[in-house]
Amino acid sequence: MNALAARFNAIFGADMAGPLAALVAVLIVFGFASPHFLTGATFGSVAFQLPELGVLALAMLMPILTGGLNLAITFTANIAGLTLAWTLQAKGGIDAGPGAFLLGTALALAVGAASGLVMGLVIAFTRAHPILVSLSMMIFLRGLGEFLTRGGDISGFPTFIAPIGHGSILGIPVPLLILIACVIATHILLSRSKLGFSTYMIGSNIESARYSGINTRKVLVLVYMLSGVMAAVAGIIMLARFNSVRVGHGESYLLITVLACFLGGINPFGGFGRVLPVFVALIVLQLLSSGLNLLGANQHLTTAVWGILLIVVMVLRWLSAKFIRSVK
């Protein structure tokens, strides 16, 4: 038993146990509960719904690892989406060309980075609490967006944008491909780059990191900028999926991304956690959603079940920690 656990930990990492167990449980329970669950349709819908939430969760992940939080991700995504939308409109709306799209995308990513830059600078240089900084940025961006759009929708984009939200390459949905690319990039960044290494070190003790010659301010600023860029990617995916931009789109994802990170074993105080368990946790959440949908439940019941799942996982972690202590 112990040897098996050790092998599992060696292959997947100890933090993978919770999410994988939840994944198996969800597959089994809904597999029995609904004959339509283990079908291509379910996985197709998951594949299309997962990316927005998934990319936003990645945007949340890195700040949490530094011991912070970025509550501005959803509205950063909206503002980035607006940037792209306006660029397209300025360049001909429905008739805009790929050049306009590329320009708009670049501007959208830059806007995301700028939002992160401001937060990162304030957090790094004043040591104000990230919750408060990102919260005020969130309120600001929401206000800015509502002011600029007067609460309305922006739509009317060239047709070649639709495939980003709805198309498939080799049978794999394009948004899922984007998500997978982002997951891989974040994984490599965190596990192999100097920035990633420093992120973890700052998360568990920023002063000791500084004494060891890590440029803690630069790291914090970069982390929040990358978080902003990731949020912008999510904003672009949302634009393509809904074929419109409205400030407030995806607002309810905000706390779900935090939930997904915790479910994936990210330490709420920072310093510990990996991308892949979070990715699995996201799949679990989305499968739960689809499964409950098949059983006739609506999104709100799903939200409640997501919350219950987080509690259950935390209680199980507590029990297993207690068990390990008693065995020793």
């Binding site: 509550l71 401001v118 304030v122 240089f125 004043t126 040591r127 104000a128 609490h129 919750i131 408060l132 900084v133 919260l135 005020s136 940025m137 969130m138 309120i139 600001f140 961006l141 929401r142 206000g143 800015l144 509502e146 002011f147 007067r150 609460g151 607002e251 706390l255 779900i256 935090v258 939930l259 915790f262 709420p268 105080f269 439940a297 609506n298 709100h300 019941l301 799903t302 939200t303 409640a304 079940v305 997501w306 919350g307 219950i308 987080l310 509690i311 935390m314 209680v315 507590w318």
Partner: protein
């Protein structure tokens, strides 16, 4: 005076900012410095201040709560249904039901946090989703408009006709807010339990070694917030004259921003009722001022966000942190790390 200034820096700064803003607004608009507007400000801020003083207690005890606003929505809804069941009720039964429900929902958080050692932000994000999801599921998002008459009719405590013929009024929520604020102040500064909450938030291990009941601290803090959330929920229903299940969704972050702006520390041990009230008022005055100056309502939040961002940047920034040369001063407000042997 100097002592007061030193020990209440945040409150003094906030107060100065509010005064400065008021002076500017007083010159920029005719209406800002009128009794009617001042009362309006209080009427508008009452519900948020009740939430804020509740959240303050949890922050002081070193916790955080994301779920209280949706908990208040549940309280509103269930109280409305319960009142209908008992045939209308009145203020006493309404407040009693709302308070009890609020306490129960707060205590659920405390239970998860204390019994299973779940960190408060994780526990309350979970209960936030559970509370909100279940509320929307069972209500199907349907609002309640046929509330009892006593609940929807405005209760004016004090009124005065102004020179221009308008009425300056203080309504019931303001009085309830004043009672809640005073009760919270009395509780956290004048009772031993309140001081224990500060001590527990400041140095949990130190409090434990003094034999302070850690579990009781969690239940009291979250119970108090639950109580305040319940009362605030009922007051909001009274103010809005309807119960909309997702009306308070998102309010938790606005209140959190105001409370932390008021000097409460995420991490515990620090915060005052005065700061908390000033934090909420600063946000309200900003919105009120923008409104009077004829700024588009769509832009309100933008300014509020920007002002909070600037305020925290200024209040957190010390010379030492901005100029790297001086930044190596070791923080003196940290206890030396535990070198215990256990």
């Amino acid at each position: 005076m100097r002592k007061l200034f030193l020990s209440h820096t945040t409150e003094v700064v906030l107060f100065a900012v509010i005064i400065a803003m008021s002076i500017v607004l007083g010159f920029a608009t005719d209406r800002f410095f009128t009794l009617g507007n001042a009362f309006d400000l209080l009427n508008i801020s009452a519900v948020n201040i009740i939430f804020a003083v509740g959240l303050l207690v949890v922050l002081i005890a070193g916790g955080i709560d994301i779920s209280f606003a949706v908990a208040a929505s549940i309280v509103q809804y269930v109280t409305a249904l319960a009142l209908e069941r008992i045939g209308g009720g009145g203020w006493v039964s309404g407040l009693l039901i709302a308070a009890c429900l609020g306490i129960v929902l707060g205590v659920i958080n405390a239970f998860l946090i204390h019994r299973f050692r779940i960190i408060s932000i994780v526990a309350t994000i979970a209960t936030f989703n559970v509370y909100f999801g279940l509320l929307m599921f069972f209500t199907k998002g349907v609002s309640i408009y046929n509330l009892p008459d006593w609940l929807t009719s405005r209760v004016i405590i004090y009124e005065r006709e102004m020179a221009d013929g308008s009425w300056a009024e203080i309504t019931l929520p303001v009085v309830v807010m004043a009672v809640c604020t005073f009760a919270t102040w009395l509780f956290i500064t004048r009772t031993t339990t309140g001081r224990q909450l500060y001590a527990f938030g400041d140095n949990p291990e130190g409090a434990r070694r003094f034999g302070i009941n850690i579990g009781a601290m969690q239940f009291i803090a979250f119970g108090w917030l639950g109580l305040m959330a319940g009362i605030a929920g009922l007051m909001q229903a009274h103010y809005a004259q309807e119960v909309v299940p997702n009306a308070l969704y998102g309010r938790e972050l606005d209140v959190l921003a105001a409370v932390v702006l008021g000097g409460a520390r995420l991490g515990g041990g620090k915060g005052s009722v005065l700061g908390c009230v000033l934090g909420v008022l600063l946000v309200s005055i900003t919105q009120n001022g923008l409104n009077l100056m004829g700024v588009s309502p769509f832009a309100f939040k933008m300014f509020v966000g920007a002002i909070i961002l600037v305020a925290i940047t200024l209040s957190s920034a010390r010379i030492g942190n901005l100029v790297p040369v001086f930044a190596t001063r070791k923080s003196t407000d940290a206890q030396p790390a535990d070198r215990g042997e256990s």
